[in-house]
């Protein structure tokens, strides 16, 4: 069997870069495929080409990625930017990966695979979220990182560290934040309390988080305990309506950025048949892995936020361990010092995973956000509303049958924006735990491919 690569890494974020550095150091033939213009992932997006003013606004955590990025760019591995992976399948003892590069399909064969394709934002299906003028907080940050764009005025709504960080960055850049509407339910503070010790194991991070929260709370028009958010406007957003303690409020605005945490992008792992597990604290599906990223499929590892939501530092460590494990698997003798370092990284990963428990519980989505109702669009691609789904949710075998009945999940995003909420609605209608409502089946292509791109096949 012709084997192009020993290790094919999908995604050039902190996890993918760290893994590629490790594996290429021992002489393995490594390829990194990344969909972005430049390496860095979402966290360090455009870092290598960002301007001084962008770095100033984005802050020290953004610039912190520079050494890793430099090391990756100097690593002895192949790296293809703007590569859109649309299929992965078993090929002999290894895997074949199809990607669109420069307008044509290229196929790469590899013995081992690392999925480090990161996370996405948890879809926040509030009434009117499909209207032009609504985007996610992550989108707001991406516009700043990749294009240096800032909104003139914005309403930020939702919950989670990214929302607070964006508020801080926008404030630093002089953006008018009309309001920050915090949907974090009060019960989450009690849920998180037993995990305070875990948070205290990383005191600097905890202080930073606390400062970030308080700084926004006391410098911005800030409302907590917000629920029943409704985006209003005919063709475009003209305002947002919401409730605090049963009192209704309305704000005029043209731009709303929503956020309620991030979830793992499991599509590639699902396509390969890697076992998935529902994570109750993180409220999302994760690919089941061992500490070194090994999934239930032989030769397939997952690292970083594609595997478990834990942030950049954890992703980098997971990538490092995954890459090193791959490197050691090929060496005839295992130097004991290397094994000892590997053990050390593993311990640190466990600590970070534990500490993350605090954040997981503090920012769980509010229950009203997991039960969209009425005209709220749940599936944006096929414009299927919550009431259309709840009308049949009680009688379906699961979300895949729900998809057949309602078309929800059949559009070009392949359920990325609705899958989780379909699961919640079925679980709620049938009083079943989420762990028993299997996610939507993923099929190729992972993203649309034109016939022209298929024709120009290499």
């Amino acid at each position: 069997m012709a084997k192009d690569y020993d290790y094919l890494v999908i995604g050039a974020g902190p996890a993918g870069m760290a893994a590629a550095i490790e594996a290429s150091q021992v002489g393995l033939k490594v390829l990194v495929l990344d969909q972005a213009t430049s390496a860095g992932g979402q966290i360090y997006r455009n870092l290598g080409r960002s301007l001084k003013q962008q770095a100033q606004v984005l802050g020290p955590d953004y610039v912190a990625g520079k050494p890793l990025l430099a090391k990756f760019m100097a690593a002895n591995c192949d790296y293809i930017a703007l590569a859109q992976v649309w299929h992965i399948e078993a090929h002999g003892q290894g895997y074949s990966v199809a990607a669109i590069v420069n307008g044509e399909t290229k196929t790469f064969i590899t013995s081992h695979l690392l999925l480090a394709n990161g996370a996405m934002e948890r879809p926040m299906a509030v009434a009117g979220w499909h209207k032009p003028g609504v985007m996610t907080a992550g989108a707001g940050q991406i516009l700043l990182k990749s294009s240096g764009l800032l909104p003139k005025q914005v309403v930020l709504a939702g919950s989670g560290p990214l929302l607070l960080l964006l508020a801080q960055q926008y404030r630093a850049a002089g953006v008018t934040i009309i309001a920050l509407l915090d949907t974090t339910p009060k019960i989450n503070y009690w849920r998180a309390l037993p995990w305070l010790l875990a948070g205290l194991s990383m005191p600097m991070q905890l202080l930073k988080g606390l400062w970030l929260t308080l700084a926004q709370r006391f410098t911005l028009p800030y409302m907590s305990g917000v629920s029943s958010i409704e985006i209003i406007g005919q063709e475009q957003v003209t305002g947002v309506r919401f409730k605090v303690a049963n009192k209704e409020y309305e704000l005029a605005c043209n731009l709303v950025m929503l956020h309620q945490g991030i979830i793992a992008q499991t599509q590639m792992a699902q396509l390969l048949g890697c076992e998935q597990v529902w994570h109750e604290a993180k409220q999302c599906w994760l690919t089941k892995t061992k500490l070194d990223g090994q999934t239930s499929c032989p030769g397939v590892q997952v690292a970083g936020d594609a595997g478990t939501i834990g942030g950049a530092a954890l992703a980098q460590l997971q990538g490092q361990l995954a890459g090193r494990t791959r490197a050691l698997a090929n060496s005839l003798h295992r130097p004991w010092r290397l094994s000892l370092v590997t053990f050390g990284i593993g311990l640190r990963i466990k600590q970070l995973l534990w500490a993350r428990g605090l954040v997981d519980r503090l920012y769980q989505p509010a229950s009203w956000l997991t039960k969209p109702t009425g005209n709220t669009i749940v599936c944006r691609c096929e414009q299927v509303s919550a009431q259309q789904i709840t009308a049949v949710a009680a009688g379906v075998t699961g979300v895949n049958q729900l998809k057949a009945f309602t078309r929800a999940g059949m559009g070009p995003c392949q359920g990325r924006q609705c899958g989780l909420n379909l699961g919640y609605l079925v679980a709620h209608a049938q009083a079943r735990p989420m762990a028993q409502v299997d996610p939507l089946t993923i099929r190729p292509p992972l993203s649309p491919v034109t016939l022209g791109q298929l024709e120009r096949r290499k």
Binding site: Q54, A139, I142, S147, L150, P151, P412
Partner: protein, 98 residues
């Protein structure tokens, strides 16, 4: 085209000509196509294939598929996944099943 909801953090950047539905505009060269449309005040991209309503990108990272348009004759390209390039031809008016 309406007033833009966004402005550029850095002024006096090198500009790049792009054509949007046949009209040529100058935009900063570091923008993604989706960002360029926002910069120009183009708040929507085409019509929704099901509802026919105007739609706009949600995620800017390739997972919502709501910024699809025709770039240099290739249909269904995600505007957020491409950087602008000199004389790039963008068409938002061609619609079809997606």
């Amino acid at each position: 085209m309406t007033d833009s909801l966004f402005s550029s953090l850095v002024q006096d950047l090198p500009l790049c000509p792009i054509s949007l539905d046949g009209v040529v505009y100058q935009v900063p060269a570091q923008l993604t196509v989706a960002a360029a449309l926002l910069y120009l005040g183009q708040r929507t991209i085409g019509q929704h294939p099901v509802s026919g309503e105007a739609r706009a990108p949600l995620c800017h990272m390739g997972v919502c598929f709501e910024c699809m348009l025709t770039i240099d004759g290739v249909a269904k390209q995600r505007a957020c996944m491409h950087q602008v390039a000199a004389h790039m031809q963008l068409q938002t008016t061609i619609t079809g099943p997606s």
